[in-house]
Symmetry: C2
Subunit: 285 residues, 2 copies
Amino acid sequence: MEVICKAKAFQRTCEEARQKGKSVGFVPTMGALHAGHLALIDALRACGCTGIAVSIFVNPLQFGPGEDLDRYPRTLDADLEACKSRGVDWVFVPSVEEMYPAGFSTKVRVEGLSEGLEGRFRPGHFEGVATVVAKLFALVGPCRAAFGRKDYQQLRLVERLVEDLAFPIEIVPVRTVREADGLAMSSRNRYLSPEERKRATGIVRGLRAAVEAFEKGERLAKSLEALARAPVEASFDAIDYVAVVDPKSLQPIDRIEEKALLAVAARIGQTRLIDNVVLGEERLL
Amino acid sequence: MEVICKAKAFQRTCEEARQKGKSVGFVPTMGALHAGHLALIDALRACGCTGIAVSIFVNPLQFGPGEDLDRYPRTLDADLEACKSRGVDWVFVPSVEEMYPAGFSTKVRVEGLSEGLEGRFRPGHFEGVATVVAKLFALVGPCRAAFGRKDYQQLRLVERLVEDLAFPIEIVPVRTVREADGLAMSSRNRYLSPEERKRATGIVRGLRAAVEAFEKGERLAKSLEALARAPVEASFDAIDYVAVVDPKSLQPIDRIEEKALLAVAARIGQTRLIDNVVLGEERLL
């Protein structure tokens, strides 16, 4: 496994791999790798990728003022170990200066999809995501890239970006990996105290309640949102949103015709967690 | 020569050419081709490109309300003839719907460089340019792309875009091609009546006056701007700007140390023309 810090060297390595006939798969991450990230690697392998590139970069552009950029977990040694054990070929670990040298001034924005849900509570977040993803895609030139469904809005935004700008890349969405009690895997779970960790299942309990009601025939967004909200309200300190939206446009809907995304964001102490389920498509264990 | 209307087919063709070992050069145009465009093709050939792709697309995103999108000259048959005679391999002629299908919502913006000069008079123009260029680059995947120095701000913006987003593309700047009397070649010159056409040399006469003064030692921006402005004022109906700026940042400067861009935009009737010279680098015939 090669660990590369320089953008040009990383680009050259990926280019050489492609020229040797490798089918390059790419997993962009902010490090602090957990089983959810490893599932992304496995998904690319299962799609037939014969070379896997992983980037580890805590992207300052996607953090707002007052967010957790400074305390975001950095666990490089363990991350590299995990990549190695999963058979990753190339790990790109650039500095902020390497990704955004002095004078950097290009921004990529996906209108519409960036504005609701996370976008309302994290202004500028998705412009940061779109910009770094566009740059990483240009560096790697992968044939496939994997993104977790836990960050569902990000996944939709990247799908849109790739379609709009004609990147010749297949986006592989990967199911959320959960702890035994249902909590969605997240690097931010490390922030939780043992007591907060117990309360944190409130979100998945809310999602489950809504899935059950949906399966029994409930189709009204307001009713499903209320069911999902109750356990979150009981266990979290604050709710940013509990919302039923169209799974493609992410626009609010009143009544579910076929499928809908139920997305939740809430805070325990300083920790902000998100999770979601696509009603009519997924079940939650 | 292949003429291709569909984005996916064009992307596939360029990809196949690359895989066959072609060194693909790319010239994005809005059609209405003239000797300036043909010089771009020749420049790529001179750089060693063995396959040349040209796009012809009047990009609505880069036209503001009240600008000349509707009357912009469309001369497809003559354009294809010109491409063929110059040995172009692939011409991409997409419809607006092919480039921007329903739901298209990604925008690319280059901050700083987009705001002065043209940006002040054409709000949104450079966002349209950056967006279409990013998409065309992703479609073609060229190793080189040629841009004319007549659209100097656009050239700088594309250079910045390519560097920031790490597109593995060499940007080849090409000297402005001029008519016998010095008028810079432009598709918009077709708008001029014979009488307006004569007056239109005011800009190049202004640039020449400034070059002469610069060569005699004048270094004050204000003085050089005044010299360039006089013949434009005498022959055009309105001046948007006559500005001496730093050739890299395009920020206004007071005194020229080594080089400076002198850029002019002015209107005759309904026709808006631009031109420029880099003082300390170019002479004008």
